[in-house]
């Protein structure tokens, strides 16, 4: 099937098998290897990206379901060389060790901050319940998210990442090329 997906601001048109998971499409066809796969059962959340303004587990979405949609990955967050406040906060608060869960953690953190710009500890923990980390014990992740909340402008979140039609760059080269 031919699908067109905008990923991190660039449109890509590709031929995919219906069974292709969005995460595999991102990683293998589009080279977006910042997004990773950690499990088979959608428990770990490492593959979390934003699809049309909401966090989703890209291992539980078919690439064909994203046809016509907009995806933001961890690779699309930094703007003009400036880290996203959540990225910065993860670094400042030592919220990662091996870093494998980090892309998903960051993407979900941004989503939860969009829903609740000033979460208390409990709200952060609840917002991250779909993301597993084996290294940090979560304490510094929680701290980072609350730290980031203080540095984010209201309304900054998945919605804000969506690119208006006019801003979209010309169709990028998919993995078929």
């Amino acid at each position: 099937m031919r699908i067109t997906v905008t990923v991190d601001g660039t449109g890509y048109t590709d031929e995919v098998e219906p069974r292709t998971l969005l995460v595999h499409h991102l990683r293998e066809k589009l080279g977006k290897t910042g997004t990773v796969v950690g499990c088979d059962t959608s428990n770990c959340g490492a593959c979390t990206v934003h699809l049309n303004g909401q966090s989703v587990k890209s291992c539980s979405v078919l690439a064909v379901q994203a046809d016509g949609g907009e995806v933001t990955t961890v690779e699309g967050l930094a703007r003009d060389g400036q880290l996203h406040p959540v990225q910065q906060a993860f670094r400042d608060n030592h919220a990662l060790q091996c870093g494998f869960c980090t892309p998903g953690m960051i993407m979900q953190s941004i989503d939860l901050l969009a829903d609740n710009p000033n979460p208390d500890e409990e709200a952060v923990r609840e917002g991250l319940e779909g993301n597993l980390c084996r290294c940090t014990g979560y304490q510094n992740i929680v701290r980072a998210v609350r730290d980031a909340a203080g540095h984010m402008r209201p309304g900054a979140g998945p919605e804000a990442e969506q690119v208006a039609d006019g801003e979209r760059t010309t169709t990028g080269v998919g993995g078929d090329a």
């Binding site: 998971l21 291992c59 539980s60």
Partner: protein, 284 residues
């Protein structure tokens, strides 16, 4: 893990979807939110020849007011249901239970109808649907029909849906002004409910006038705790009454046994959690 190959169709109307299912035969699967189906496909616990994606069918989404009922489109996501003012005002129990489903990412994709059709006895929306007397609107090759929640849920992962049927929407009689609580018990936040209790009550002047209680994972299908309901109605909502009523919670249940709980413990939990659920509902 990668699903086995399948053909994919994404019809834009319910009629087309029913036709696509009929054409594809027994080995077709309906894809709603996909949050249960995709892991199953990835692990190759199922290998359908055709997947019929309902995601492009606009008429299956949204919540509307139909007089004495709130009607929820089957493809409404958990996220949408959680936040819908109609659901809050007239089916608070469903909103409370939906808050506990899986995690935020899954709630963004997973759908109300998909959860009901999946009919996992540990799923959190079955008992509320039963307690609220939800009515399923089903479309098949023979047109539309309805099924009560009691008729709809038949066994583990089994409903009254025929292979070519689509669950279109769910009509929930308004429970306006009822208070509600969903008491969920699991080992870790990500885990399925070991037992959960969906309780919604109406009280006037400290007296319970109506009560609906549904139990999650206490049988192969959701169970209504009618004995508890009867023991509550007409009584004052004090702790002693609630506790005594909750003692009936395990009557008529036949829970499964797994490593987390045997029958005795599940039935014990049902009694304890029912008391807590009713108390929490009464507390607002």
């Amino acid at each position: 893990m990668i699903p086995a190959p399948f053909d994919y169709v994404a019809p834009s109307t319910v009629d087309e979807a029913v036709r696509a299912l009929a054409d594809a035969g027994e080995d077709a699967k309906v894809l709603a939110g996909g949050q249960s189906l995709l892991p199953v496909l990835r692990m190759r616990l199922a290998a359908p020849t055709t997947v019929v994606d309902l995601g492009k069918i606009g008429e299956l989404k949204g919540v509307r007011d139909e007089g004495d009922a709130v009607v929820i489109g089957a493809m409404s996501t958990h996220y949408d249901v959680q936040r819908d003012p109609l659901v809050h005002d007239h089916a608070l129990l469903l909103a409370r239970a939906t808050d506990t489903v899986a995690d935020p990412q899954v709630r963004h994709r997973g759908t109300f109808g998909g959860s009901l059709a999946h009919a996992d006895p540990a799923g959190d929306l079955l008992a509320p649907a039963l307690a609220l007397d939800a009515e399923m609107v089903i479309q098949g090759t023979g047109g539309r029909r309805t099924a009560s929640a009691a008729e709809f849920f038949q066994d583990f992962f089994t409903t009254s849906l025929a292979p070519e049927d689509i669950l279109v929407e769910v009509r929930i009689p308004k429970h306006t002004g009822w208070s509600a609580h969903y008491e969920k018990f699991n080992r870790v936040a990500q885990a399925w409910s070991m037992v959960a209790v969906a309780a919604t009550v109406r009280a006037e002047g400290g007296t319970i006038t109506e009560a609906r209680i549904g139990l999650t994972n206490m049988a192969s299908i959701p169970v209504r705790a009618t004995a508890v309901e009867q023991a509550l109605v007409g009584r004052s909502a004090d702790a002693e009454t609630i506790r005594a009523a909750a003692e009936h919670a395990a009557e008529g249940t036949s829970p499964t046994v797994d490593g987390n709980a045997d029958v005795e413990y599940r039935q014990h939990l049902a009694r304890v959690l029912t008391g807590r659920a009713v108390e929490a509902a009464m507390a607002g």
